[in-house]
């Protein structure tokens, strides 16, 4: 009995860890969709770039002789967020803004092109092999009998939970309370009207991309530390999963993306735990279809009201 419940706890923790990083990436999708109604397929690539930058920054700092780990991580976070945001901003400026007035499909194709471009750009610059880094944050707490199954919560998982929580809370407050956040909500509700009322919509759209990219960079740093491995192709699968999470939670809704990420992570982990890891993706995407059948707007999405 004890073993079964410990096992359940362990799998729940595993699922929440992966789920919270899905959520971080999913926010980028959902915010962009909420404001300009397009799917930014290059977002997964921004996450991948964030991970590469963290690797480069960490090895650079270690080479410079910085040894205090929290300092390394803090500086890396700043560098990675800054550079990735610049990428996010530039992608919007170069690939989406010029085609924004036209058909939505054009922006979609432009996004796919951007995704392929970034992937291959990193591949040429950094090589196609997996790049690895030793684990920086080791150890953890264990629960359970010494001779039987033990549930472990590693320090790295705790770091992931805490950082995700802080970032999410920060974002929620920013959107709900700040001036810029209010402008974001206004643009998302009615872009034309917001423009007429004196909100610089171009700047707000850029801001959305920058926030999305910054969160993707945070996820990139966290998962880079957690797995210790990266390659130019990880953005694709991660992007797909995060996009699923965003749709699951209701695309356009920020709390929805958070919930969707967690649900997806836990579903995957539980399927591997009690069924088989072979069917992990089958079950999670089956769940997505079911939810969309019964709640077409996702878990927390609001049905779009036709504005007259």
């Amino acid at each position: 009995m004890l073993e079964t419940s410990l096992y359940f706890i362990q799998q729940l923790l595993n699922g929440l860890t992966i789920g919270s990083t899905y959520a971080l990436i999913a926010i980028g999708y959902t915010m962009v969709y909420g404001i300009i109604g397009m799917i930014n397929f290059a977002h997964g690539e921004i996450y991948m770039i964030g991970m590469y930058i963290s690797f480069v920054a960490i090895s650079g700092l270690t080479m410079l002789g910085v040894e205090y780990l929290p300092l390394i991580l803090f500086i890396t976070l700043l560098i990675s967020v800054f550079i990735s945001s610049t990428y996010g901003w530039a992608v919007e400026r170069v690939a989406y803004r010029p085609v924004r007035g036209g058909n939505r499909l054009i922006a979609l194709i432009s996004a796919i092109g951007m995704s392929i471009f970034l992937q291959n750009y990193v591949r040429i610059a950094q090589g196609s092999r997996d790049i690895a880094m030793p684990s920086l944050i080791q150890g953890g707490w264990s629960m359970g009998p010494l001779d039987g199954f033990q549930a472990t919560l590693s320090y790295m998982q705790v770091v992931i939970f805490i950082v995700t929580f802080i970032t999410m809370t920060g974002l929620t407050f920013f959107i709900a309370k700040s001036r810029m956040g209010r402008a974001c909500r206004a643009v998302s509700e009615d872009m034309k009207m917001a423009g007429l009322l004196g909100i610089n919509t171009n700047r707000i759209i850029s801001l959305t991309f920058v926030i999305g990219a910054a969160l993707a960079a945070v996820a990139g740093l966290l998962l880079g530390l957690y797995y210790g491995v990266t390659n130019p192709y990880i953005g694709f699968i991660a992007g797909l999963k995060a996009f699923t999470a965003a749709v699951l939670g209701g695309i356009g809704s920020i709390p929805g993306a958070m919930l969707g990420g967690l649900v997806l992570g836990v579903t995957e982990s539980m399927t591997s735990a009690y069924f088989s890891s072979e069917y992990k993706d089958v079950v999670s995407f089956g769940l997505l279809i079911l939810i969309l059948l019964f709640r077409p707007t996702g878990l927390l999405g609001k049905p779009e009201v036709e504005k007259i």
Binding site: E3, Y7, Q10, Q11, N14, G15, T17, I18, R123, S128, R129, D130, A132, P134, S135, Q138, G140, S142, F149, Q150, T152, S154, M156, L223, Y227, G228, V229, N231, Y233, I234, I237, E268, S269, S272, A273, S276, S277, E278, K280, D281
Partner: protein
């Protein structure tokens, strides 16, 4: 006047191009080197390419084949079946008649259909899936053993030496990984080993924490992994972080230095079945020196098998006196080739008559030692 000049210029230019083309056709014989130059398993492609290029260089030094110089043309399939088909079609269009490759079994299989139809000779130096040669094809050969040999070698080692009480077999759901995992499962189960888990993962996944927790709960003390190194490296690394202390074993697809880069200390004591270290054969001393002179590493699993792949084709060309692939394939089934991987012969299917895999113990610095 001006017009005529232009025309003349055009004609003479096109003549020159044609002349150049026919000149190069007469002088070089193109061999397609197909394999992953990019992608997650590109290091295996490197092994194949340096081995084949070395063979081409050596044969050219010795005067070429039937008075012609060889030229290796690299084609990148990124170990992706779809891309492999495109590469095969490109090879057909380029008029290349001889191919060394492909590398991943799942790429070799669809590409070989095209080569067989077009009468292009293909020798793979690395694909070990038995299905590739089991379809009665005439043009498909390989200079490496089969999973149906490698699996039992691994399985017998596990059952006779390791003797685990509860074993898990994990694979990546690809042709190569699942094939070899099934072969290992059949062998160990026949010898009475208790296999408590047989599961697939998705290649490209990064998180194996659920799988590891499951193996911990089942009390698994030995794991066989069928697949490639990026996933096994992460499984090893995450197992170490979660204090899951089972023994691990994998096929030749995991045995390269990048595994140690990913898994670090956790890759110590991993067991790997690999082709024998041909680079340590005394006959190959001189050859290994030539690799060193070029700053290349001859110890990779597929370097010398790729060398042999080039050599068997050129030897057959010399024997038949021309480049006709149909005559070559008939000759190849009868000849004995003296290659760096030993004296080799092909059977009717195009497989080697004998090829032994060896169990090695892997070390965290990327080196390996044979297990007695």
């Amino acid at each position: 006047m001006k017009k005529i000049n232009k025309k003349l210029l055009g004609i003479s230019a096109s003549l020159m191009i044609m002349g150049a083309a026919s000149l190069s056709q007469a002088e070089t014989l193109k061999i397609g080197l197909a394999g992953p130059v990019t992608g997650p398993v590109a290091q295996y492609g490197d092994m194949q390419m340096i081995g084949a290029q070395m063979a081409i260089a050596k044969i050219n030094e010795a005067g070429g084949v039937n008075g012609m110089q060889l030229e290796g043309v690299v084609y990148d399939d990124a170990c992706d079946p779809k891309q492999a088909v495109q590469v095969a079609n490109k090879i057909v269009n380029d008029g290349v008649r001889y191919v060394v490759g492909h590398l991943c079994s799942s790429s070799t299989q669809p590409a070989s259909d095209i080569y067989e139809d077009e009468g292009i000779m293909m020798v793979t130096a690395a694909s070990t899936s038995p299905e590739i040669t089991s379809r009665g094809f005439q043009m498909v050969f390989r200079t490496i053993g089969l999973d149906s040999h490698q699996g039992p070698t691994a399985g017998n080692h596990i059952a006779d030496k390791v003797k685990p009480s509860k074993m898990a077999i994990i694979h990546d759901k690809q042709q190569y990984g699942e094939g070899i995992a099934s072969a290992v499962k059949a062998t160990v189960e026949a010898k009475g080993i208790n296999v408590v888990m047989f599961e697939g993962i998705t290649a490209g996944d990064k998180d194996f924490s659920s799988l590891i927790a499951k193996m911990q709960k089942e009390g698994v003390d030995f794991v066989y992994y069928g697949g490639y190194h990026p996933e096994l490296g992460l499984i090893l690394r995450q197992s170490a972080e979660r204090k899951f202390e089972a023994g691990f074993m994998g096929p030749e697809g995991v045995g390269n230095k990048d595994l140690s880069a990913i898994a670090g200390q956790a890759s110590e004591k991993l067991l790997v079945t690999l082709p024998p270290s041909f680079d340590l054969r005394p006959e190959n001393k001189e050859l290994v020196e030539s690799f060193k002179a070029k700053n290349q590493d001859a110890s990779g699993a597929f370097v010398l098998t790729a060398y042999s792949a080039v050599q068997v084709m050129t030897d057959a060309m010399k024997k038949t006196g021309n480049g006709d692939t149909d005559a070559m394939q008939k000759a190849m089934r009868e000849m004995t080739f003296k290659t760096p991987t030993g004296d080799i012969q092909f059977d009717e299917k195009g497989d080697l008559k004998s090829f032994d895999f060896v169990v090695y113990q892997w070390h965290a610095d990327g080196s390996k030692t044979a297990v007695k």
